[in-house]
Symmetry: C2
Subunit: 451 residues, 2 copies
Amino acid sequence: MATKYFLSEDRMPTSWYNLNSDFPAPLPPPLHPGTLQPAGPDDLAPLFPMALIMQEMTPERYIEIPEEVQDIYKLWRPTPLFRAPHWEKALDTPAKIFFKYEGVSPAGSHKPNTSVPQAYYNKQEGITKLTTETGAGQWGSALSMACQMFGMELLVYMVKISYQQKPYRRSMIHTWGAEVIPSPSDTTNAGRAFLANDPDSTGSLGMAISEAVEVAATNEDTHYSLGSVLNHVMHHQTVIGQEAMEQCADAGVYPDIVIGCAGGGSNFAGISFPFIGAKIREGKETRIIAVEPAACPSLTKGIYAYDFGDVGMLTPLLKMHTLGHDFVPAGIHAGGLRYHGMAPMVSHALQLGLIEAEAYTQNACFKAAVQFARTEGIIPAPESSHALASVVNAAEQCKQSGEAKTILFNLSGHGHFDMAAYDNYLSGNLQDYAYPAEKVAEAQARMPQVG
Amino acid sequence: MATKYFLSEDRMPTSWYNLNSDFPAPLPPPLHPGTLQPAGPDDLAPLFPMALIMQEMTPERYIEIPEEVQDIYKLWRPTPLFRAPHWEKALDTPAKIFFKYEGVSPAGSHKPNTSVPQAYYNKQEGITKLTTETGAGQWGSALSMACQMFGMELLVYMVKISYQQKPYRRSMIHTWGAEVIPSPSDTTNAGRAFLANDPDSTGSLGMAISEAVEVAATNEDTHYSLGSVLNHVMHHQTVIGQEAMEQCADAGVYPDIVIGCAGGGSNFAGISFPFIGAKIREGKETRIIAVEPAACPSLTKGIYAYDFGDVGMLTPLLKMHTLGHDFVPAGIHAGGLRYHGMAPMVSHALQLGLIEAEAYTQNACFKAAVQFARTEGIIPAPESSHALASVVNAAEQCKQSGEAKTILFNLSGHGHFDMAAYDNYLSGNLQDYAYPAEKVAEAQARMPQVG
């Protein structure tokens, strides 16, 4: 069975890694949505604590992890690294497959790696309440856990269709003491506008962001928290890759290929950014692959442009791969990957040729996930299954070429909340969606006109 | 936050501990259901492999864990031991609270500790197919994972009400490749008899056992597997307590009180038997508490007698605390604790005064579980929440007496499959059931007449 590489707590990273310090060209800055000029710290202050804004902009390579955050990390970190010999055998590949497993956190995913520091820094600056949005609920549950630990209130706008169809992560958010409102709602101007336009709207992540941002922007004691996309979120997640690097060394390997699924980009950044840094600084020849759903392919089919993070056009403009801020993705089971944009740092890495991107349809992903569950035991989250589909592809290439490459992927969460999706797959009822090509031109036409 | 005590793999137990070797009086043997004479190995051979039958009867203190089983254990073992300082603070108690966390296994509970060796020994003896029963699905999923790992078929009889109302563990069983039939079914004589008696029967664990046992008894290549109650299952689970003992030593403590929830008795045995052994051999003064639901209180309200393990009266008779083999417990959310009997070894330990038993209603249990989730992060399974209710009680006693006792409990699984139960609790809709006192006399009257 799988071979496990634990890391003792005294080898846990004490700093987050900032890939911005190593990029060969600077990351395009966010723009103020009104002036279209680069947004400064003051522009972001209504939404975020200054400590996180500084992390967003700092050129420093390492950001110290506060001791209080490290203490909470130790509830589940360091997470294990595994080799997957039985899956290798089932794939009949000479490749060595390793995976980092983030499903051991109390929320069952990598999301608490950033929810905990975000709650911490807000608490430090006297903020008593946060707002956020959530799709299927991974982020909302992770942030509710963190807020509860720091004695803060949390209001979660949950995409209405998920609120209705996926009640269990909603229950989890309640168990951790936060309030949940289905979005679009009549509690915000943005929500009322969406409802006026379509009273039966089942919502989207982009709409829920507008609502959460509005509440934070209009309440003194309230800030907003985002579970992906922004630079500081990418930094926080690098504990994954830093640990994996140590564990790979313990296992006597260095990955030839590093793979992560990408929705907003945070778990992909987590596993890959430290390896991209090594690629830039030390000239390592590592292939780094971001994997997205064919139904929501911002990296592989989107345009690279300044766009809003939300439907209501309230957020700063970010330079990123986007399908258009009003794009509503098909209802695939990987709810965490249904976002129109991509983290600017991930987009920038793609533009610079430091990473590659692939897209897979969901049946291919679930096929890989079921084979993995049947050989190595762990049932992957539908989001993570996209990374597995890419591993299958890379393993097949190794089989063709006879090369025994070392593949490392991030298993970002377990699928215990997503068994209905497995049911659909196993009963042959899972539909594959392709992104309609004509949408690209439409999105291009509606893109905000910058500079 | 919680302080974690990891154990390196090289300190993982290499033997299971057998409390039968240390009991001051011998365990009453199982009886053949026809002859009412002690059942010998041959009587059990149609159902179990000889290796497990020998473990059932051996007087040896330690049973070596096969290397193949240790290899699979390493997928999630050793499991972490935590101290829970934030819960201690919320409870305002001088007690030191430690817990062993079994929810990190791929199935999310302690059950794979025995499903893996059971599949292994059956495979070793040429068996290609197993049958079993499951209530809410913890055991069925754990065994399906193990069978899949050894390339064996599995047929699971799932209590019909759970099959209908709790589809997600059923999906998990399917994902791991096993077949699931709602029980009672028309696929067995026992099932047809139950249905003839009550066509609308929603089933019970006792009925599902009858069906699974019948299939195994009447098919040469098929054996039966039980997830609790039997001696070998108790032995297998002692990896929990053995690891905890090492980890407590690392933490510089020895528990004054050891607490586990008890349905059939396996996770309770797992955490407590090594400590009971130390109590007997070394005179340690440890309180050991088994905690059961007030709705299904075999240890606190049942009678200690020879009874059947199933409704169909097909199993050997076991000397145990029982509510009567035809008792159908109220529909509480802790599905894994809804069994009429108790493991003979646990019952024997209670008779000998080595352990105590307590019962709690489910609102008290969920109250403790929510407080725990909000302070230490992890959301407990409803079964495990019974242990937490007892910890709250013990911590309160420490507060009254001012004693800083060390409490160790087993957090046998996470509650990610049971969020609907948390919803019910949080919305105030959870009903408490008491076991009707008159049932005891009724059960006594229907008990099989032995000796």
